[in-house]
């Protein structure tokens, strides 16, 4: 999965670190706590926000996140955030605008890093079992699992369609042409995926699917 169209798929269960050893519920709860606290800290208490940032950084390094990975994610995240924050002082000449923009940058960065920590330490299987324990509807959890399973298959499909396209258009299409071709790409992906869903459904029926979800995690 080194292709540019597929982002890295988060945590793997094999990682071992202090943070990975925490119970899954605690991981999700801690992250949400950091996000809420950082949202509640008022403008004038920005040192507290800075402390929170340091704490999240420490948690990230304890979880074994490499600087390179962090830099790559931040390089995608910070420019967009910077532009959005900058639109506040640009749009209104109030004296408070810069303070507001700065606190927004800090808050968003803290929350983003907390989110990165979570995706690094919480694999999908653990997340789904947490959601079950937190009484999330079982059908919804099954849908998430199903979707996660098929996203990677569709990415591969998309990559094949794309390389077929690139092999044929010699890279010289006009913008309008590129738009219609890309729309056809999505349309083709959609048709194939829907047919695959129908096939999968029939295969599930053949294996005794009746619409109810059973899981080995029930006793955990």
């Amino acid at each position: 999965m080194s292709d540019s169209c597929s982002p890295d798929a988060g945590a793997t269960a094999s990682d071992t670190s202090l943070c990975h050893g925490l119970p899954a519920d605690a991981k999700l709860f801690l992250t949400l706590l950091v996000v809420v606290v950082s949202g509640l800290i008022p403008l004038e208490h920005w040192p507290a926000q800075g402390l929170l940032l340091v704490a999240v950084f420490m948690a990230l390094s304890l979880a074994g996140v490499t600087v390179r990975y962090l830099a790559r994610r931040l390089a995608l995240f910070l420019p967009a955030l910077f532009v959005f924050g900058l639109s506040i002082p640009v749009a209104s000449a109030e004296g408070l605008a810069w303070n507001w923009a700065l606190s927004l940058w800090l808050r968003c960065t803290v929350s983003f890093l907390a989110g990165l920590w979570l995706i690094h330490v919480l694999p999908l299987r653990e997340l789904l079992s947490v959601l079950r324990r937190w009484h999330c509807p079982v059908v919804l959890i099954a849908m998430i699992g199903f979707m996660y399973r098929y996203v990677f298959i569709l990415w591969d499909e998309l990559r094949r369609l794309r390389s077929a396209r690139d092999a044929r258009d010699f890279g010289g299409a006009s913008t309008w042409r590129e738009w219609t071709i890309s729309a056809q790409l999505i349309g083709l992906l959609l048709l194939r995926a829907m047919e695959r869903a129908e096939r999968t459904h029939r295969a599930m029926l053949a294996r005794g699917w009746d619409g109810s979800i059973r899981s080995l995690d029930d006793d955990r």
Partner: protein
């Protein structure tokens, strides 16, 4: 489009999360009635399609950035509003929790803006338009394109409302940000409408049976559908007009006098988010609705023309079905 954590206040996020949870629960219930045992594979697959389709980049003319499909209306048109809402919610959940795209706490607000309003509202607009226009390809494609444009603008308007509520608490007036947001999203919406229309035209040319025709509805639900559609249209167009109204009062006054809306002006048409009271005050409601209808009519004419253009371009197919390598 994804709202990050830290942009909205925690209390706004929690309120939005409660509303979204109810909407998702209702969608789940309706879905299990509509699709029965096909609900899980079809909705899961649709979510995966939307997720994968968002990876296809559409180059913007002369700019180094590129846009992508959002997919709310596309999913709702293919599988109905309930599955559409769920598919978008699933995409948002997975993006937030596993790819850190969009916030955890603001997930509720994201689901509300894009899943609930995008798919439910977008489908209501689509179904209402299609009911009036019939089942031809042009009608289907242009209805979906209008719905896509309106749903993007409505989502932007809702974001402005939520952001206004959050920043109001800290005594900051962000009305200038709204102008940028709404203009920006009006442009994004055009892209979304184009892509949704083109993809649907392609699907219709290959497997028209995948897109269900509108079924006759009981009167109460038909009225509800038209009401929802009107609400989304009014929200979108009010958002579009509000910044122009606040920045260029003279220009808009002149236009409204020319068009004979002077009598409506005396009621002082409400600005969306004017002073963070109720966004659509009752006394100005009619002027907003009228503006909504007018704006929708303009968009609609544009969409019909586009639908024809798109259809011409997809007829000589360049991508064969068997492009598997």
């Amino acid at each position: 489009m994804h709202i990050r954590d830290g942009i909205l206040g925690p209390e706004v996020c929690v309120a939005a999360a409660v509303v979204s949870a109810c909407a998702v629960a209702y969608s789940l219930r309706r879905l299990r009635v509509d699709l029965e045992d096909r609900a899980v594979p079809l909705t899961g697959m649709m979510a995966a399609i939307v997720f994968a389709a968002q990876m296809v980049n559409f180059p913007l003319l002369g700019l180094p950035v590129s846009g992508h499909l959002l997919g709310g209306v596309l999913a709702a048109v293919m599988l109905g509003p309930w599955a559409g809402c769920l598919a978008i919610s699933l995409v948002l959940i997975v993006q937030a929790v596993l790819f850190s795209d969009g916030g955890l706490l603001s997930l509720g607000a994201n689901v509300f803006n894009m899943g609930v309003v995008g798919a439910w509202g977008g489908h209501a607009v689509y179904a209402a338009l299609r009911r009036c226009l019939g089942t031809s390809v042009t009608a289907t494609v242009s209805s979906a394109a209008v719905a896509a444009w309106l749903s993007v603008l409505a989502a932007a308007a809702l974001f402005c409302f939520e952001f206004g509520l959050s920043s109001h608490a800290s005594g900051f007036d962000p009305s200038g940000v709204f102008t940028l947001m709404v203009v920006y999203h009006a442009l994004i919406g055009i892209g979304e409408a184009l892509i949704t229309g083109a993809v649907l035209a392609f699907v219709l040319s290959r497997r028209a049976d995948l897109i269900p025709a509108p079924t006759p509805l009981p009167a109460v639900r038909a009225v509800g559908q038209f009401g929802t559609a009107g609400l989304v249209a009014a929200l979108a167009v009010a958002a579009l007009l509000a910044p122009f109204k606040s920045e260029l009062p003279d220009g808009l006054d002149a236009v409204s006098q020319q068009l004979g809306f002077a009598s409506l002006e005396t009621e002082r048409p409400p600005l969306l988010l004017d002073d963070y009271a109720i966004p659509l005050p009752v006394e100005g409601w009619w002027s907003v609705s009228l503006a909504g209808m007018l704006g929708t009519a303009v968009v609609f004419v544009g969409a019909v023309l586009l639908a024809r253009a798109v259809r011409w371009n997809t007829t000589p197919l360049t991508l064969a079905d068997n492009t598997d390598v």
